[in-house]
């Protein structure tokens, strides 16, 4: 019997209409765990690096994490992978919700799509029965509406549906895959789903997920629950409200948005409004939020309430999570009422709440600058909010200028020319970033922005505070119950980190310390993404219930695999290097690894080169950021080394 995992993949060839249930190799679980780890192995093995993201040969993989569907609290993530049309590298967009556990209960760890369907279809997975069904009646329907229609059609309210909207159907690069309160939004993953002709995947499962050492596993899960309660009663002191608790940022619960609205940028990630948050604004926003937010909701098996049901009068109900509450609002210099309204339309269209508003703000800046003209924008309304709706409608349909903008700011700017590239200023690896601009370079963040394989800061940062606490006593208090540190030395790094003076940014933490801190944060994300545990209970917030000291026990008890901290660190390094190698084979080099030029006002080119050198060396990579033979061999990735050598990417010895 297989434990924690089902031991089966569902392989669907859309060109042939063929469906197969394929047993997997348990050895791969030992090497890569599951989720992101085994997804990347499939991409390495089966998709040649020259494959176009919209080729039938690109795989679209819906992978569940190893612990999904077990009693492990918050293990509910689906990791969706393919080659990305946006970055051209490996996409691994993730979503919480209820879909991954349902797939496990149906008896599968992953659904792997290859080929392309000639007509729009949806897939109905009901335990052992799998059907490819016609979806022509769902063409053009919203993602939320599609899920509702499929549930009615299948006459089962317990079906979990992941669907694309109009944006995905039209291969808009910022298209998301929507699934109730969650979505896989980044890196153009919805466009790949649309390209394959898949409107939705509906799943229902009524089988068991088994645990190798049940009593032990339950005890561990109980401890996590207890720690979540402990953290709810003991918020972290001396930090902004947003850092106090667990979960993803509690945007649906919190009214106080001073930190985001005055610290982050408005418009096309350029304008800071330090005085925006006033009593009047707070009152108005409170009224809006409380009148439209019907209920705070969670994902599967998680006591947190990071999402909400939002009902805007006159519009159909939808679900929202986290920061999309503010992205449209701030990009359009508008207010929360507008944010909730336009997010309803955007969610049904199925678009990424980061890239989409930024692309629209970018378009309006180009218009103001005369680079886009009335000829490009025929009939566009005169008010900013009206313009946002106008642009959104065109982007998801690829109509007129919308067809250009649908490729995101990087590609759109290239196509528009006339200096438009200066306006696409907030990208890493061709992908839009958080609208954040700061003063002094932070060496730890510099490394994360540069080298994150996903080009998404929120999915690499987390364990180490973003900035030093002003007073030593505050720091001493913070480290007292910091059980999550992999090594005591991290406490010292934090204790000695000062807002000013010798021990401050950008020279402290030192290059070596920065590498170690980044490595710790990355490690936790890579483990989460292989296990399917939500970053909100692990790698993202300060002092989370899951950490490097209890994860090995979880994995051992769930699967029966002998796992300790050293072994788990090795799995992390293996997965990290495999994904890096997948991307290296697709051309990733040092030149791609840089933050937006204007991310910090104060930059230090020499120091930055030194940091990057130190990080590459720390990782066992060469000066171009490519894993060396020795590194790969040590991680059971000799076959990767051999391939890279054959391609002339690395040299032998």
């Amino acid at each position: 019997m297989r434990y924690a995992e089902t031991g089966y993949h569902l392989e669907i060839d859309l060109s042939r209409g063929n469906v197969e249930r394929v047993e997997t190799d348990p050895k791969l679980t030992e090497l890569h765990l599951g989720g992101l780890g085994t997804n990347s192995k499939l991409l390495w093995d089966r998709v040649p690096p020259e494959t176009d993201p919209f080729s039938p040969d690109n795989l679209l993989i819906f992978g569940t994490g190893l612990l999904c569907g077990t009693p492990a609290v918050g293990a509910n993530r689906t990791i969706v992978s393919a080659f990305s049309p946006q970055t051209l590298f490996m996409a691994y967009s993730m979503m919480g919700g209820f879909w991954a556990p349902e797939l496990k209960y149906a008896g599968y760890d992953k659904v792997i799509f290859r080929g392309k369907s000639p007509n729009l279809i949806y897939v109905w997975i009901n335990n052992d029965k799998v059907e490819i069904r016609d979806a022509s009646h769902l063409k053009g329907k919203g993602a939320v509406e599609t899920a509702e229609l499929i549930k009615q059609e299948l006459k089962d309210p317990n079906v979990q549906v992941a669907a694309i909207g109009l944006a995905g159907e039209n291969r808009v690069y910022m298209a998301s895959i929507e699934q109730g309160r969650s979505s896989a939004s980044r890196q153009g993953i919805g466009a790949v789903m649309g390209d394959k002709g898949i409107k939705a995947i509906a799943v229902r499962g009524t089988k068991d997920v088994n645990i190798a050492r049940p009593a032990e596993f339950l005890e561990l899960s109980n401890e996590v629950l207890k720690y979540i309660q402990h953290r709810a009663e003991n918020p972290i002191k001396n930090v902004e409200p947003i850092f106090e608790g667990l979960g993803s940022p509690q945007e649906m619960k919190l009214i106080d948005e001073k930190w985001h609205t005055t610290g982050f940028m408005w418009g096309n990630a350029r304008t800071r409004r330090k005085d925006y948050w006033t009593k009047d604004v707070e009152e108005k926003w409170k009224e809006t939020q409380e009148s439209m937010r019907t209920r705070l909701i969670s994902c599967y098996n998680c006591p947190m309430k990071c999402g909400a049901i939002v009902s805007v009068p006159g519009l159909s109900t939808y679900m929202m999570k986290c920061y999309s509450k503010l992205t449209y609002t701030m990009a359009a210099f508008s207010d929360l009422d507008f944010g909730f309204r336009i997010a309803q339309r955007a969610t049904d269209y199925g678009v990424d709440g980061f890239s989409t508003p930024q692309t629209m703000a970018f378009a309006l800046e180009l218009y103001e600058a005369g680079i886009l003209t009335d000829q490009d924008m025929p009939g566009m309304p005169s008010d900013t909010e009206g313009r946002f709706y106008w642009l959104l409608d065109r982007i998801v349909r690829r109509e007129g200028i919308g067809d250009v903008l649908a490729n995101g700011t990087y590609w759109a700017a290239k196509q528009i020319g006339k200096g438009a590239e200066e306006f696409a200023h907030n990208n890493i690896k061709k992908h839009e970033q958080l609208p954040l601009k700061l003063g002094m370079l932070n060496p730890v963040y510099f490394l994360m922005y540069c080298t994150g394989e996903k080009a998404n800061i929120t999915q690499i940062e987390g364990q180490f505070p973003q900035e030093p606490f002003p007073k030593r006593e505050q720091r001493e208090e913070f480290v007292k119950d910091w059980i999550q540190v992999p090594d005591e030395k991290f406490k010292q790094y934090f204790l000695d980190w000062e807002p000013r003076g010798d021990n401050s940014n950008p020279h402290y933490p030192t290059a070596q310390m920065s590498c170690e801190i980044v490595d710790w944060m990355e490690k936790m994300h890579y483990i989460d993404d292989a296990l399917g545990v939500c970053a909100g209970l692990s790698s993202f917030p300060l002092k989370p219930p899951y950490h490097i000291h209890n994860y090995p026990a979880f994995i051992s008890a769930a699967t029966g695999i002998d796992m300790d901290e050293a072994g788990l660190t090795q799995v992390y390094r293996r997965n990290r290097n495999l994904i890096r190698s997948v991307n290296v084979r697709r051309g990733l080099r040092r030149a791609d690894e840089k933050p937006p030029e204007d991310h910090w006002k104060k930059r230090f080119p020499e120091l930055e080169e030194k940091l990057l050198d130190a990080y590459y060396q720390f990782k066992g990579w060469n000066k171009e950021g490519i894993p060396t033979q020795e590194t790969l061999k040590e991680l059971d990735l000799a076959y990767v080394a051999e391939d890279l050598e054959q391609r002339g990417i690395i040299k032998n010895g």
């Binding site: 569907g69 077990t70 009693p71 609290v73 209820f98 209960y105 939320v144 509702e148 309210p157 317990n158 109730g180 309160r181 499962g205 009524t206 089988k207 068991d208 997920v209 088994n210 645990i211 049940p214 009593a215 596993f217 339950l218 629950l225 979540i228 309660q229 709810a232 019907t294 209920r295 705070l296 909701i297 969670s298 994902c299 599967y300 098996n301 998680c302 006591p303 947190m304 309430k305 049901i309 009902s311 159909s316 109900t317 939808y318 679900m319």
Partner: protein, 179 residues
């Protein structure tokens, strides 16, 4: 029949506090697995969350008695503008629906308040509901003594209802011969 004191266990369900996570279903199915916690599967759970997010319907309901016949009519309730079917509130394991039946055998399930061995201080669904949508309460009542059917008897009864007594007896006889 004699009057006896009986501890009445109840769970107060606050629909407004439910965040819809279904931890209750998960832990119920894990507790009732054999060996305990060796597997979980919400489809085996003795509590079900009737969940329809878009209409803001979040209704945990517990498995009660098995019944051989379904109701003649199915009424609808509208509460706070939200429509519920009568079945949504019903605890019965009944022929009209899949809920509260073992997915493989179709045998009925019933909430036992986690009185199983070892007895839990409170039902595990309550323990796992950190949002306090499920609150455990106990009170004493005087009731008439009654003979309760064991789990196997309830199961057998449902098989008899489905296949008839003769067929069940024949099958059991045949099976005992084989072994």
């Amino acid at each position: 029949m004699a009057k006896v004191k009986k501890k009445v266990k109840s769970i107060k369900i606050d629909l407004d506090k439910c965040n819809g996570c279904r931890a209750c279903e998960m832990i119920c199915s894990a507790f009732h697995a054999n060996p305990k916690y060796s597997s979980n599967n919400p489809a085996r759970s003795r509590i079900r969350l009737i969940r329809d997010p878009i209409r803001d319907v979040y209704l945990p309901v517990y498995a009660g008695e098995y019944t051989a016949a379904e109701c003649m009519g199915r009424d609808k309730y509208v509460i706070d503008g939200k429509e519920y079917s009568e079945c949504d509130f019903c605890r019965a394991s009944c022929p009209s629906r899949d809920a509260f039946k073992e997915p493989d055998s179709g045998l009925p399930l019933k909430c036992d308040m986690c009185e199983d061995d070892p007895a839990q201080e409170k039902p595990l669904c309550v323990k796992w509901c950190l949002n306090d949508a499920l609150i455990y309460e106990e009170r004493e009542e005087e009731v008439e003594e009654e003979v309760k059917l064991g789990e196997m008897e309830v199961g057998l009864e449902s098989l008899v209802d489905k296949y008839g007594l003769q067929k069940v007896t024949d099958t059991v006889a045949r099976m005992s011969k084989k072994s």
